[in-house]
């Protein structure tokens, strides 16, 4: 034990004069009164003496209590029934009455203590915690990596409602704050395109089927007719369609006239 004994178990304790009064203290930096150079006052020794005294007192008390409770004299006295004494004045009855009163007091005191603890514990804890550098304490004394390793992050993530979180995010505002032009300028699109195997992509596309669908959908003949603007082809098309319509009309008329109940198989429905 040297003179720096009080600070030996708390690491680098600073002198009281250097401490910021606003940062009151933390648990490991509780200031202690500097001891005079001539004082032979060992704190550990005082604590040991106090603990020894306390232990001896508690041990003695327990011994006495045990001796009293286990004493056959006391037990016999508790169970002794005095002759010619009314039952309510018997020692047993008196002790039972005292026990009931004691139990009632104990309950009442217990409730009071609980009430006091409920009222004062938050206040005291707040006062104490406000004077502690909890972050520093945790940083120095807790192996956060070990703690994190013991956490089942997958289970935590699986319980998180990401949709709700994303729904609360204003993505438009977030995106608008991003300089996409600058980001795109930093991307070498040529290099990316150079790594693409375009041939494989094209091989996976059924271009013929796609073109056929497009041609079927856009009425290519109409576009060709419009682009060429051929009056002759338009007239021929009109004459052909007129002929088809006239054929159908005559077929229907002949069929009605001859009372045919069957429909001509070659006459399709009107488009």
């Amino acid at each position: 034990m040297d003179e720096a004994g009080p600070s030996s178990d708390v690491g680098e304790a600073r002198p009281v004069a250097e401490r910021d009064p606003q940062q009151v203290s933390n648990l490991v930096e509780v200031p202690r009164r500097s001891e005079g150079p001539g004082e032979r006052f060992d704190a550990d020794w005082v604590v040991d003496v106090a603990l020894g005294f306390l232990g001896a007192s508690i041990g003695g008390g327990l011994t006495v209590v045990r001796a009293v409770t286990e004493s056959p004299v006391v037990r016999s006295a508790a169970e002794w029934r005095a002759p010619f004494v009314p039952a309510r004045l018997q020692p047993t009855a008196l002790l039972a009455d005292l026990a009931v009163r004691g139990a009632r007091h104990r309950v009442r005191v217990g409730r009071g203590v609980e009430r006091l603890l409920d009222q004062w514990t938050p206040v005291v804890a707040e006062l104490v915690l406000s004077r502690l550098d909890l972050t520093g304490i945790v940083t120095r004394h807790v192996d956060l990596d070990d703690v994190v390793r013991s956490v089942d992050i997958d289970a935590v993530v699986s319980r998180v409602d990401l949709d709700a979180i994303v729904g609360r995010i204003d993505l438009d505002a977030a995106v608008s704050s991003v300089d996409l032009d600058a980001a795109v300028e930093g991307v070498d699109i040529d290099a990316i395109a150079g790594r693409l195997d375009i041939d494989r992509v094209i091989d996976r596309i059924d271009i013929v089927a796609m073109v056929e669908e497009v041609i079927a959908a856009i009425d290519l003949p109409a576009i060709i007719r419009d682009s060429t603007g051929s009056m002759a082809s338009e007239s021929v098309r009109s004459a052909r369609l007129t002929g088809i319509a006239a054929d159908d009309a005559i077929s229907r008329g002949i069929e009605r006239h001859l009372f045919r109940r069957r429909r001509a198989p070659d006459a399709p429905d009107r488009p």
């Binding site: 003949p221 054929d247 429905d269």
Partner: protein, 170 residues
């Protein structure tokens, strides 16, 4: 690629492709063909006259053609024209204008023999065309005899023009 070729047909006419043509369309086509043959006949006559004038202008006299030769010439030219047209492409100029084609019962192009017989029948008995009005398959007299059909086919060239191939079934 037949679907792509068929798509060249206007949308409103696609349902009719491959179906038998009716009397109106065929009459119009035949009329066009008759006018063409007549024009060719007149042109041939004028050409012969011009040739005679060039060869012997002094002895040239305008001769009215006899009706017998005119009818025979019209008949022969019609037979030759129809045979060649149906054998080569399955359609005459009138058929091409009206978008129809002559095919066999198996929807193939006619061979030259059947094309010739059909041409002769058409030239000799053109009124047989009217039978297609009452025929349930819209077949004319010569179609019934030779088992041929006239179908709508708007494509400029037959999609399956080679012998042994078939056109769309009605």
């Amino acid at each position: 690629m037949n679907e792509v070729e068929l798509s060249l047909v206007p949308v409103e006419a696609r349902p009719y492709q491959g179906r038998s043509a009716g009397i109106v369309t065929r009459l119009v086509a035949n009329t066009i063909d008759a006018l063409l043959v007549g024009a060719a006949l007149v042109g041939t006559y004028l050409g012969v006259v011009a040739f005679r004038f060039v060869v012997a202008p002094r002895d040239f006299t305008w001769q009215e053609p006899s009706w017998v030769w005119f009818v025979l010439g019209f008949f022969g030219m019609t037979v030759v024209y129809l045979t060649a047209a149906w054998w080569i492409s399955g359609r005459t100029v009138g058929d091409h204008v009206m978008g129809i084609r002559v095919v066999t019962g198996k929807r193939t192009r006619l061979r030259i023999g059947r094309a010739f017989v059909r041409a002769v029948l058409c030239a000799v008995f053109p009124i047989g065309l009217l039978w297609c009005v009452v025929s349930r398959d819209r077949r004319a007299f010569h179609d019934v005899l030779l088992r041929t059909s006239v179908v709508y086919d708007w494509l400029p060239r037959p999609a399956r023009s080679l012998p042994g191939t078939t056109l769309p079934q009605p």
